[in-house]
Subunit: 169 residues, 2 copies
DNA sequence: CGGCAAGTGCTATAATATATCATTCCACGA
DNA sequence: TCGTGGAATGATATATTATAGCACTTGCCG
């Protein structure tokens, strides 16, 4: 198995309106729910829809604000957090601890907590890579420390190519 | 340069009352302040003292609660956050985004944002490694994406050796 | 129908973090 | 000695993020 995500393709373009990202996410959601005997309820679906509108990360309350589109009424924060917990449990969305925000997974079902999150501080877009090397090294390190590794979070902040070009020229 | 932190030594023992950790941290604090033309004020020193009492991470408000020991009065949250911002800027303490908490650096001055944080979900102790391989891979990945890498955060949650032994037998 | 489990609505509240502006402190030069 | 300026802090208020608790609804299965 080689590098499973081509790094050149890992970072979504600034105005990428999803050549299939949403559709992939939704179909992954449905199959993951089926497999796990759970269901993609309206509330969960709404949160997933909102996050999958772009590759930006959103705060839970940003998501909440967008929940009233259509229906006149808005749920409480707990509804959003419950959906986020459910969706992140399936790997459909991820949380950025460095920013207390959430984003839709770019490769649902293709990684199991082994990806790296690349956050552009300028445009807010988040990309994902899945480095084969890192996937090997961390368990080795853990073994040498006799540490049982449960969850890994790798967040890289910087500036994406698009923003660098735009700002400089 | 080989692995700069022996992984076997990276995770502090559960009841390690610091064979020199505090002293190292304090002397690093003083020299880093000198170098950067800043000063280790009483407020900053107090926060550093509290965090360096153990290898556990603490919430900002946990730190705040311990600030009155001795003097009868307690500062506001802002004082704690200001100290934390200052100290983390010098690499003397680190923030755990996955838990919104803070801990004292185990190797102040020895790494520049290149370490991995190992968090024991059972005892709360946090260890640090500095993997040479990861320090190489991430910039390479960034280059291949034309992403300007500014800050990296790697947090690994699991269970330390001590806790595994204790629980199992 | 009755009982159960999963999910949600609703309200309150906890936990984390920052904004703003007045005040203190101290080094430094007049 | 005095005034001045910058860094740090105090104090208060408020913003932001997240969870607890409990009643209610819904759909399923016997
Ligand atoms: Zn993902
Ligand atoms: Zn960007
Ligand atoms: Zn450190
Ligand atoms: Zn432990």
């Amino acid at each position: 198995m080689v590098q499973s995500i081509d790094p050149g393709q890992a970072f979504p373009a600034r105005c990428d309106y999803h050549s299939g990202c949403r559709e992939r996410l939704l179909s992954a959601a449905e199959s993951l729910c089926r497999e796990s005997g759970t269901s993609l309820t309206a509330n969960r679906r709404a949160v997933l829809d909102i996050l999958s509108e772009s590759h930006h990360s959103l705060g839970a309350y940003d998501i909440l604000e967008r929940m009233d589109a259509g229906a006149g009424r808005r749920p409480g924060p707990a509804a959003v957090y419950r959906a986020l917990e459910f969706l992140s449990g399936l790997g459909l969305v991820h949380r950025l601890g460095s920013r207390n925000s959430w984003f839709a997974c770019s490769r649902p079902g293709e990684h199991r907590g082994r990806s790296q999150y690349w956050i552009c501080a300028n445009c807010g877009v988040v990309g994902e890579t899945e480095s084969e090397e890192i996937a090997q090294i961390l368990p080795e390190l853990a073994l040498s420390m006799a540490f049982r590794l449960d969850r890994v979070s790798i967040e890289i902040e910087g500036e994406c190519r698009g923003c660098q070009l735009q700002i400089k020229g």
